[in-house]
């Protein structure tokens, strides 16, 4: 399933730009939370940036992704703007979801996002549906489903893998194995050492890639996308990764893992490694990367400002958009 093509400098810059933007978004958010800005329940993506960036680097603008609860990174990688995202977390009417969804539902359907979704496994079905839609409408779109190694254990994931395979749907199952589902270690909860070993039971290719290396993820995703667009069906990618912080903003004791393990993961930080690689053998220069960081910082400054200054939803918003009003569609 390996592809031989190498990422262009442009692709590399794009991936770094996204990883950097995700990292900065999450760090800014964490800082806001810790200084008392109330943003509801949030699940930081810090540490896993290479997975979202690598997968989305292989997707087109009109391809689809479905995301889980740990979804900020997926959204940013697929192109959601950080200002309305931040506004959403502040519960503002200018937010991606008009303040009605929050962190666990962020979406921008115009960017091909079927939604952040905190019911474990639920959005895997939505990705399958987007893939079916592409097939029925005879487009070449593909859909990627992001889920954790915890999400690999729930029934719907199994059902969707089977259906994707029998119908050869253009869908990519991206399992982000960050070692934990809340406080439950993967080696306890999963019966196989590698989650990707399960792919064979659905007659689809399964690969295990280094989730700290965006290029490795991108390569696997490229191959999967190619297969999907060719009508050959689904693929499974397990990306080994790590979340640096707690399951959610309130989980700060991390009493289920050892500090040494955390340090080892941080030593393999995706941004750090990427920078080191570029420094060593290019094609990007550190100065280029620094410029990207600076530009992203500015985006975040603006996003927070936008979020702060935006209005709250009016009281009537509680009652709007419960039912879809007749419009559009095949009426």
């Amino acid at each position: 399933m390996k592809t031989t093509s190498k990422p262009t400098a442009e692709k590399l810059a794009w991936m770094y730009e996204r990883m950097s933007l995700i990292r900065q978004f999450e760090e800014r958010l964490k800082w806001l939370v810790e200084t008392g800005v109330p943003v509801g329940a949030v699940h930081y993506y810090i540490g896993q940036e290479a997975v979202a960036a690598g997968v989305c680097a292989a997707l087109n603008a009109d391809d689809w992704i479905a995301s889980n609860h740990r979804g900020h990174g997926h959204c940013i990688a697929k192109g959601v703007e950080v200002a309305p995202m931040m506004a959403e977390l502040f519960g503002k009417v200018t937010g991606t979801n008009r303040g009605k969804g929050g962190s666990m539902h962020i979406t921008d359907i115009t960017k091909g996002i079927l939604g952040v979704n905190p019911i474990v496994g639920a959005s895997v079905g939505h990705a399958l549906g987007a893939a079916l839609s592409a097939k029925v409408r005879q487009t070449t779109q593909v859909a990627a489903a992001f889920f954790g190694e915890g999400g690999a254990g729930i029934g719907i994931t199994h059902e969707c893998m089977n259906m994707a395979s029998i119908w050869k749907l253009p869908v990519i199952f991206v399992c982000e194995n960050n070692g934990y589902a809340q406080a439950t270690p993967v080696e306890y909860a999963s019966s196989t050492a590698k989650i990707s070993d399960r792919a064979a039971g659905y007659n689809m290719p399964g690969v295990n890639v280094d989730g700290q290396d965006p290029v490795a993820v991108w390569e696997a995703a490229e191959a999967a996308v190619k297969r999907a667009r060719a009508g050959e069906g689904p693929s499974f990618i397990e990306a080994k990764t790590y979340r640096y912080f707690g399951h959610h903003q309130g989980d700060d004791t991390l009493r289920y893992r050892l500090k040494e393990e955390e340090q080892a993961a941080r030593d393999r930080d995706c941004l750090k490694q990427f920078r080191a690689k570029m420094e060593k053998s290019g094609p990007l220069k550190l100065a280029d990367l620094d410029a990207i960081d600076a530009q992203n910082k500015k985006l975040l400054d603006d996003a927070v400002e936008f979020a702060k200054s935006s209005p709250l939803p009016g009281p009537e918003e509680l009652y709007t958009d419960v039912y879809v009003q007749a419009k559009g569609g095949a009426q």
Binding site: W64, A66, G95, T96, N97, R98, G99, K100, G101, H105, T107, D108, I109, L114, G115, N117, I119, A122, S123, V124, G125, H126, A127, L128, G129, A130, A131, L132, S133, A134, K135, V136, R137, A143, G155, I156, E159, C160, N162, M163, I166, T320, D321, V322, Y323, V324, Q325, A326, K327, G328, G329, A330, Q331
Partner: protein
């Protein structure tokens, strides 16, 4: 020379609704277990071998092919989720959950995903999807050894009507089944269509050949009367009509309201009727606790308080699982005798 009136059964009417909408709009697809049957065996000359539990999808694959008439594996959560995703991305899926009892294995996708997606996303995504499902007891006192028992006979629509964002319609005749199904397919949000398994000939009737809609969110007064309002849902509407006939023989004129949509409920029509008749009996095939029967009774009790000559009476199925033995099932479901007795008690 009189034009012969074309009569269809309940299942045929739904079949026609699906067929017409699939012709009209290429984004309408249907999916479910054995909605066609013999999937993948066209090369053996086998296909269209099942057609759903009530044969409502029989023949569709012949006209529209396997790309749009999709037999699924047994994976309700997965394929209902798939329909949600498909509805967000340009299709109008019609999903069949074989029996309503099976919502137990895909409830999340119905209540947390389909029902809430539009709201959670700030109104920025539409979700044109339909769930069709069969429900109900036979309850006809035939001396049957047994029915389908506790896990294949439920009504259960209360646990769907409870959910904001989900429209739930309960047709009672071939005519309104066709019109509500078409309306459901054309709706841009999720709609559940509850199809009773044992309407039999009571639902059969004239159905125009062309496409038409029966509006979602509207009750229909199916018999006028001045002494009491009988509110029926699905097959219970026929039970109410039967009771009304009996009552009429005794000089009591019952008005019968067919609810048709249980969520959002057209409470105005019901309340206005009760304000005229001053009495109300709600007849519901679901079990009583947190039921549509009590929901409607509470709304009427509050809104028509000053007009009531007697307490609103809610008649439900027994507050038990559905028993297997026919002798038990016959007592389980509301019937006309119980409705007549309730009215007589009210009028005293």
């Amino acid at each position: 020379m009189s034009t012969p009136i074309r009569e269809l059964s309940f299942g045929q009417a739904i079949n026609e609704a699906l067929r017409l909408e699939m012709r009209r709009d290429p984004t309408v697809i249907v999916m479910g277990e054995d909605i066609a049957g013999a999937a993948g065996r066209e090369h053996l000359g086998l296909s269209d071998a099942w057609g759903g539990p009530m044969r409502a999808t029989r023949g569709l694959i012949k006209e529209f092919g396997a790309a749009r008439v999709i037999d699924t594996p047994i994976a309700e959560m997965g394929f209902t989720g798939m329909a949600v995703g498909a509805a967000m991305t340009g299709l109008r899926p019609v999903v069949e959950i074989m029996f309503v009892d099976l919502i137990g294995v895909c409830y999340d996708q119905i209540i947390n995903q389909a029902a809430k997606m539009h709201y959670m996303m700030g109104g920025k995504v539409e979700l044109p999807m339909v769930i069709r499902t069969a429900y109900g007891t036979r309850g006809d006192k035939r001396s049957y050894g047994g029915g389908a028992a506790a896990q294949h006979s439920q009504t259960l629509y209360s646990v769907l009507a409870h959910i904001p964002g989900l429209k739930v319609v309960v047709p009672s005749t071939a005519y309104n089944a066709k019109g509500l199904t078409i309306a459901a397919i054309r709706d841009n949000g999720p709609v559940v269509v509850m199809e009773h398994k044992f309407l039999g000939t009571s639902a059969k009737g004239h159905v125009p050949e062309e496409a038409y809609t029966v509006p979602i969110g509207k009750c229909e007064i199916v018999r006028k009367g001045k002494d009491v309002t009988l509110v029926g849902i699905g097959r219970m509407t026929h039970v109410c009509l039967e009771a009304a006939t009996t009552l009429a023989a005794g000089g009591i004129e019952a008005e019968v309201v067919d609810v048709l949509t249980i969520n959002p409920l057209d409470e105005e029509t019901i309340i206005e009727s009760v304000k005229r008749t001053h009495r109300c009996v709600v007849v519901d095939e679901d079990t009583p606790v947190c039921s549509m029967a009590r929901d409607i009774a509470a709304r009427v009790g509050e809104a028509a308080f000053d007009f009531l000559d007697a307490p609103v009476k809610a008649i439900s199925s027994a507050d038990t699982p559905v028993p297997f033995a026919a002798v038990l099932e016959a007592n389980y479901t509301p019937n006309a005798d119980k409705v007549v007795a309730a009215v007589k008690e009210q009028i005293g």
